[in-house]
């Protein structure tokens, strides 16, 4: 596999996680994406657009898969806490890691299109036009999904913060 393509593996894998909501499926989807990209590498004219091209392949494969297996992504459940690649480390107990995990859980609890749009824009830095190309939806739909995702993330974060404050308040009052 070409070196230039494999540098995008983590990014494609994370998008696959957003789309599938499942680690094993995400791995399969990532592998399939690179397999197809390798076969069609001659189609890629602009090397700078590699990542968007790979994202588009991944999104298309997943769409086909959904169409065929009639998998309803709405049935997706949050990732298990004891996922195999999350080995317990001393850092895991740290406040920062917990905070990061909470954020990811919030992201994963969003509807599939919202979390995918949010991920592509916030993390991958894609423009609304590029997201529209990757997901095959119009630019307005991208913006609506982004707006809804931001709103939900804000609401959920506030809720989580309040709960966290309440818990710490209870703990300190117990002490």
């Amino acid at each position: 596999m070409r070196e230039g393509l494999t540098e995008h593996v983590p990014h494609v894998y994370r998008l696959a996680l957003r789309l599938t909501g499942d680690r094993h499926r995400a791995e399969d989807l990532t592998q399939e994406t690179f397999l197809r990209a390798w076969k069609r590498r001659s189609q890629l004219k602009d090397g700078r657009a590699e990542r968007v091209w790979l994202f588009r392949i991944a999104a298309n494969i997943w769409k086909d898969e959904l169409r065929q297996s009639r998998v309803r992504s709405g049935l997706w459940s949050p990732l298990p806490e004891d996922a195999p690649d999350r080995e317990p480390t001393p850092e895991q107990c740290s406040e920062l890691r917990e905070s990061l995990e909470r954020t990811l859980t919030l992201l994963n609890s969003l509807p599939v299109q919202q979390r995918t749009v949010l991920y592509l824009i916030a993390v991958e830095g894609l423009s609304a036009g590029e997201v529209s190309t990757v997901l095959g939806i119009n630019t307005n739909a991208v913006k609506v999904n982004l707006s809804l995702a931001r709103k939900r993330m804000r609401e959920q974060t506030e809720k989580t913060t309040i709960n966290s404050d309440l818990r710490s308040g209870t703990t300190s009052s117990d002490e």
Partner: protein
């Protein structure tokens, strides 16, 4: 347009600002607007925090497993998901095969058969047909010869040609004594 309307229009551009979809001249206008509009400023700050947190969270917690790297580094790996094109090819091939078998069956049903009374003789006919053909010996014409010759037929290899060797019968010479 008054200031309030201007502010409203700029607030409406927040999403475009966040996704870098604002043209340069409007972007600088929005930057100035941020100084006056606390709601937009908070929204932008929240967005930047969210982007940073999500990036760190995904980078730290969602690393591809070594097994995935291994699977991707080998281009010859078997397709993880069913290849649609291959599946389609197999479907077409199976359909074509099934159609051929059905056509053959249909043709055998439609083929004209002899009436039943003729079928009774069928085994014999079959037996006759199955026996190897025996070459019949051509009938040779019977030729009468006179008493003073003896005819001896000679086989020359041609069934329709008969060659007869004739020997004259000569009376034995009488002895003088």
């Amino acid at each position: 347009m008054n200031d309030l309307t201007d502010d409203f229009v700029l607030c409406e551009s927040l999403d475009d600002y966040l996704t870098d979809d604002l043209p340069a001249e409007r972007r600088s206008g929005f930057d100035r607007h941020l100084a006056d509009c606390e709601a937009c400023r908070v929204a932008v700050e929240e967005w930047r925090t969210l982007c940073g947190t999500l990036e760190t969270a995904t980078n730290v917690l969602e690393k591809p497993s070594p097994l995935l790297w291994e699977r991707i580094q080998t281009p010859s790996t078997v397709s993880a998901l069913p290849a649609n094109a291959d599946l389609q090819k197999w479907r077409v091939a199976a359909l074509a095969g099934a159609s051929l078998v059905a056509a053959a069956l249909f043709a055998s049903i439609l083929q004209p058969r002899p009436p039943r009374h003729e079928l009774a003789n069928a085994p014999q006919t079959q037996r006759e047909l199955s026996q190897p053909a025996v070459a019949k010996t051509p009938s040779r014409p019977k030729v009468e010869f006179s008493a003073d010759v003896i005819g001896v037929p000679i086989d020359v290899g041609e069934p329709n040609v008969t060659v007869v060797w004739l020997y004259p019968t000569v009376p034995a010479p009488s002895h003088p004594n």
